[in-house]
Subunit: 322 residues, 4 copies
């Protein structure tokens, strides 16, 4: 394999740039040329590409967004779209493709694989709703952005003895709401995966008031039902038991920002894995990480010798100077 392509597609996620960088550098380590395809599948249909070198991806890892741009592309989903894409890929000399994105993007990757293009997917979506990986690119950064907003809202909520309903992203998934809400010390978290009733919220607010809590923060996943505004209306009708209620929609800031160390490392790992998988002849797969395991170890074993850094970190270190 001499030439590979890489594209970012769908909603952007912090860390996409670090992943593009890793793809290019792992390409260099495998003596491959990397072609960047701009604006996702749209760019693939329009032959909107640029050659990516180690130099051209230097310093991009700290930036949010994606230097390749992204887009949602309806035309691509038609058989004619797929045919055109395959033709363009062949004309560009691209022998393997890395697709970085969420489930829509991965559907596209599967179509290309079926059409004979060696394709590997990398999960990137702040929603963390993609099976096959415990963390997708962008989740950790979004979680920290939300947590910091909750820290800030608590300051002002405490000063005024207020309740805040904070709507956070996540589409149909409650992952971001749960993870950020627990980290940010919310008093309640409402998610689509678990039904709740208005009277539970009233009861919880009343109990918080009784126990002297200076604020009451409810994180509401965007997929929750009723949603934040409906809950606020219901609370107002009930006379705002214990706390004056405000609603805040965190919005698109959740997608932006310089990626965290975790997201840069995850992106670097997954990008490298994707290129290695292509060079080993894999296709139609997605790379991912397992993180959810719990362990209990006898202290005598723990103390026998110090933990060594993971081998793959030493392996990634070899790539950084490329």
């Amino acid at each position: 394999m001499k030439t590979i392509g890489v594209l970012t597609s769908g909603g952007d996620a912090p860390g996409m740039n670090a992943c593009v960088r890793a793809v290019v550098r792992a390409g260099v380590a495998n003596n491959m040329l990397t072609v960047g395809i701009r604006r996702g599948y749209t760019g693939l249909l329009e032959n909107d590409t640029q050659i990516l070198t180690s130099r051209s991806v230097g310093g991009i890892a700290r930036n949010g967004g994606t230097i390749l741009k992204t887009a949602r592309c309806l035309e691509f989903k038609t058989p004619a779209g797929i045919r055109q894409a395959v033709e363009n890929i062949r004309a560009l000399g691209i022998e393997g493709l890395v697709v970085i994105g969420g489930d829509g993007s991965l559907h596209g990757a599967l179509e290309l694989h079926k059409a004979g293009i060696p394709t590997v997917g990398v999960p990137a979506s702040i929603d963390n709703d993609i099976a096959g990986t415990d963390m997708a690119i962008g989740v950790d950064t979004a979680m920290n952005t939300i947590m910091e907003a909750l820290d800030q809202l608590k300051d002002t909520a405490s000063a005024h003895q207020r309740a805040f309903l904070v709507e956070v992203m996540g589409r149909r998934s409650g992952y971001l709401a749960l993870a950020a809400g627990i980290a940010g010390g919310a008093e309640m978290i409402l998610v689509p995966e678990r039904s709740f009733r208005m009277q539970d919220i009233f009861a919880e607010m009343a109990r918080a008031r009784e126990r002297g809590k200076p604020h009451f923060i409810v994180v509401v996943a965007e997929g929750a039902s009723p949603n934040a505004f409906e809950i606020q209306s219901a609370l107002k009708e009930q006379g705002e038991p214990g706390f004056e209620v405000r609603t805040t929609v965190l919005g698109h800031v959740q997608r932006g920002g310089s990626p965290t160390a975790f997201d840069r490392l995850l992106s670097t790992r997954l990008g490298t894995m994707a290129v290695n998988a292509l060079s080993e002849g894999q296709s139609g797969i997605m790379v991912g990480v397992q993180m959810a395991g719990r362990m209990m170890t006898p202290l005598v074993d723990v103390l026998r010798e110090a933990r060594q850094p993971d081998d793959d970190l030493l392996g990634l270190e070899d790539l950084i100077s490329l």
Copy 2:
């Protein structure tokens, strides 16, 4: 088990407070009273304690350091020290103990276990050098602090075409240096686990200069040999090939700061696991997480259905209102 104790010991790590909060709340959920022991094993010998309630740990999770204070205690390591500690624990009515700290602290936990006190350890150390867990409390925050410092140093290094040798913490381990250096886009990373020669550094600097790199950042683990200052001297003797060289020791800021979402979640998970382990009759063990797994999944399986939030997040959510 009606009463448990908790202490933080050794070097402090961001997230210790979130872990103390989790211990207290998991205690409440198990109908246990929690006694906080101040200044680690020193406080245990001096009966320096305070009752911890849900209210008294409200809002502490966002702060670095530890509300219980920490200390290194030589006296504890003697047989007389252990005997005194066991006596005090019994006198306080503590039936199980959670010890949050690094390897020195876990040695103490093992001694107490051997002396008949039900004891569970929780790994907390920014060095990530503790076996039995893939991430210890504090590592993620320290890694982000270092990465942000590297981002800042690159700004000024690029403006002046300089090389920076950046010494980072980690004791005998190169983990922090590797992880933060890869995330921060360092040009070289020098760690105790892998030997290196001065001429490699010269060669790498010269090559970076040739390729037009505007800066050259070398992350040097504190355990590396030669160390940062010795390397700087050697580079000066060679006439600073390509870049003017500066050394920066990041120092104790690496221990501080508001914990990241990852560290707050990890601390919440581990603290809850520790209390549950005690209540199930476990002792002489350390709780930990497995995170290093890699996966490849066929896209057809990935796309079959969306990933669900981890069950344990839903479980932790039940604790937050306690």
Copy 3:
């Protein structure tokens, strides 16, 4: 004067805590006792107070919100309310009062002054709409919070070639919108002080598109007319010329967060000035700073000798150990 009172009132602003700390320490330096009145004028009517010491305000300066809480109080504005307040102040032995807040709070301060209570106001409002000072407490922090949100939104806007309408706080004033918008590199800023027409926005967007701008960020002050949602509707009707349009309301995060160095210093200066003014027998005034001056100085004069730190910084340094 042996005893002074301090209260925070109205909307909270980051830096209020640093100001309370400065009042207490300047009180100590003047041999005065400081009584903190909780929940603004409400606490004054309800005798909700606490003695503040150097120790009790240690470490609060880095937190947003206000440890004294704040509230809006309608009852206070009646003659009976004022009478009650004066009675309570006298009964508490308070001989002088520092009121930290926005224009509503300062109206209250004027009433108390007229009723014979020595009262000095300190301007605190993220809106920067208070005459008599060039910067109020909280403005600098809010400005940075908004700017960082704009930096984040640009990442995602560029990835998608989008336009964002970003509604920011400021009540009837466009100050925050202008300052944060210029700092954050917005493409347009819409404020109540300057009228604008929808066709100007269309034209500007079209021009940005032509010049190849990857994003188009419009900061809209909450007092602007039409408002952000009305503008979005109008743009959608016109077919979103050049960019897909999204609206984001930054909301209450703008009030929170750890205060910037500027806000902590400003708060320290103003709190100290207020206590000194009271001890010199002043009343019915507000303290403030002048910052808007511009200078041109011949280089020969500039280079004659180095600038010395402001005397008042050396003066404030004397207070920090109190």
Copy 4:
């Protein structure tokens, strides 16, 4: 005036990029072409230049460092150097020059002015040691970086009951140490402008210990004598009264980082003023701001009407779309 030049020189300061952007845009507003001179006076002698357009400075304001690079140049200070520089400036068609930097850079600007080149200086130096302005570009960002480090060090200092000696930049000036130390709540600040004795430090530490302070933070300006390490040695000899002592040198991170809103606004104002001054025929001057004024205003006047945003903000807003 049809063509102007701009260079950054000496130590870099966060905000230099925002100032370059402002120069270019104010140039466009005045129908001038802007030539960027790279690596300060070195680039001037070597004709290392690039044309700057609105597009090429888009998005640079949020980055630390300087896109024009900077350097210290000894050759320039000779009469032959000045002659060569004047020749090059004329050959490039540059009719006016903006020099952004500290006192060394402004000396160079004065020489060029004397040699007949219309030259205006802009003060940029994190040390805030330049006469003719109350704040130089970069001071506010550096102050916040130091303050955040102090916040972090307090976490770990409190956990261990430690004293920290924190050496901060500022060359011969104590400004940064004073401003950041007061904002960061240091217990002592040692600066070159005020002599101090070791016994004062002992006494202050002992007093802090008695009063139960959990930490003791001493900010030491790099120009202070004795310096941080000498103080630590003396404290160790005295048996570290009350607190275990550690020293931290913050180092070059103080120069980097994304500029604060204040620095971006100040840079925008000063860059615009410099170009306007050139176009009005000024030379041999430096632009600056006055900020140190204090005001007391009767509350009746304060409350008469709301403060209006400064006219110059509305003026700067006109430039942002250029």
